[in-house]
Symmetry: C2
């Protein structure tokens, strides 16, 4: 096309595709170009604004490492990560929510009733739940990969003061799908805000906080894997999670219980002398192989 | 919002903005998020596809240097760079076209009638033109920054075999806006295709070629600066420039002339013994201060 114009450029772009392009690739790229072109025309993007956007991407490239991925963080704070999660969630199963960048490989095994807090200080939290099918049938021996922040608001991979496996555990639920463990209550924390994502949040008048949560990856043969997080209903950031991770069915309640109500047979049984927090949250999987 | 859904996420995003956000920042970010969300929903983007897109951005970040900017190249092959040019072009002036990454600072002065080919082999090309206002008035003493590829298809900044200033020159037009210089005919060339942009072009069944062109940046006090390129009408890639730079009014014709038609008074006068190419292309500026 020797007469490209602001009006026909999307059509010209589409016309450039080879005849035997994979149809899905074609669909994705044409939709992406159409929306980027529409955005550019709609806001009448100036050269300075275009350069600013490119400079933010370059900045993200310079600071991205295996430990800190600023592009994922852009996707998170723009709501894209959550949107991809939501459009692929099964409405009958527990909602999925952002994986985030802090999961570590090879988490240490955690027995049912085991303790994840180790020597960390803080209120004891007892978590119980059951892994079930959407029709209510217990799923025996599901694997639950659990992780959370330490009381200082940092994940082990961010914090040289923590063992890389601290606040990580891999549990196998029992034959009835039941699981339980103790930990300390996770805390609210901020996403990294010293890079271009922080600049974007500042420009939007937004804060970098996430409400506190427990992360789970739940897997069982014959079921879709579930990547999710659960949030307490009293967190001050519940209505303004900067990465849009909160779903109605992922909000749970911490109850305060007396020390004498702490059950027997758990790793911490006999050592809890103060009131503790208790939460029951079941995890529902949908059949499939994703 | 504790009930973020695939349907309301754009609204939730919009609701997060601070009250005193700069209105232009707000407009741009909301339009961008709306279009990215619409794209994601429209194609039902999967987690694997989302990860693939992020991996391409990370790859771009790893290979971007001051000399090679893969993010600009993404913008170029998606048509964004050209679109920003076009929506800010004055329809009465010469169209603007992509600056590209190969311009160098501090180009050497080039006298009117001077030669840019130096010792390079190839058919001599004589270029003449006039810098004028949109109403036809000549613009005296406009500055014209000129650059192009060497006959090997490379710009000086890409090619360790060339002086950094080879095929670059800064000319001041005369009191009548007239300019002229000699060079060799620029050649078609490929954009870098060994990174993620090359992967995108491959996936789309697209080639990485650009039609040959001369680059100009034209400036004169009281006028908008013009960044443009001019293309010969016989280039095989004219209808499929991979960065969408061709505009109808930027296409010109190289005429073949006999050696005895070569004018006097130019740097190469008296040395041209073979047929040479001739092009006349005027440059029209619009009043303004951009």
């Amino acid at each position: 096309m020797r007469d490209v114009t602001a009006e026909n450029i999307t059509e010209v772009f589409t016309g450039y595709f080879g005849e035997d392009t994979d149809p899905r690739t074609r669909e994705i790229m044409i939709s992406l170009a159409q929306h980027l072109h529409d955005f550019t025309r709609e806001v009448n993007l100036t050269h300075d604004e275009w350069r600013k956007g490119l400079a933010m991407l370059e900045h993200a490239g310079r600071i991205t490492t295996p430990e800190r991925n600023e592009f994922v963080l852009f996707s998170d704070v723009l709501g894209l990560s959550s949107l991809v999660d939501m459009i692929h969630s099964n409405p009958e199963a527990t909602s999925s929510s952002v994986l985030g960048p802090f999961h570590v490989s090879n988490p240490p095994p955690l027995a049912i009733g085991g303790d994840m807090k180790r020597d960390f200080e803080g209120p004891v939290l007892l978590v119980e739940g059951q892994v079930r099918d959407v029709d209510g049938t217990p799923i025996a021996n599901a694997q639950i990969d659990i992780w959370q922040t330490a009381p200082n608001g940092m994940y082990s991979s961010q914090d040289p003061g923590q063992d890389i496996h601290s606040f990580h555990g891999l549990m196998t639920a029992d034959g009835n799908g039941d699981f339980s463990f103790t930990t300390v209550r996770p805390v609210s924390y901020t996403v990294p805000s010293d890079g271009p994502v922080g600049e974007l949040l500042d420009a939007a008048g937004r804060h970098p906080w996430r409400p506190s949560h427990l992360h789970y990856i739940v897997t069982a043969p014959g079921y879709n894997s579930l990547v999710t997080e659960v949030f307490p209903d009293d967190d001050p950031y519940l209505d303004e999670d900067t990465v849009f991770g909160v779903r109605k069915d992922l909000v749970m309640t911490y109850e305060t219980r007396k020390p004498e109500e702490f059950p027997d047979g758990l790793a911490l049984s006999g050592t809890v002398n103060d009131p503790f927090l208790y939460v029951k949250f079941d995890l529902i999987l949908a059949k499939g192989s994703l």
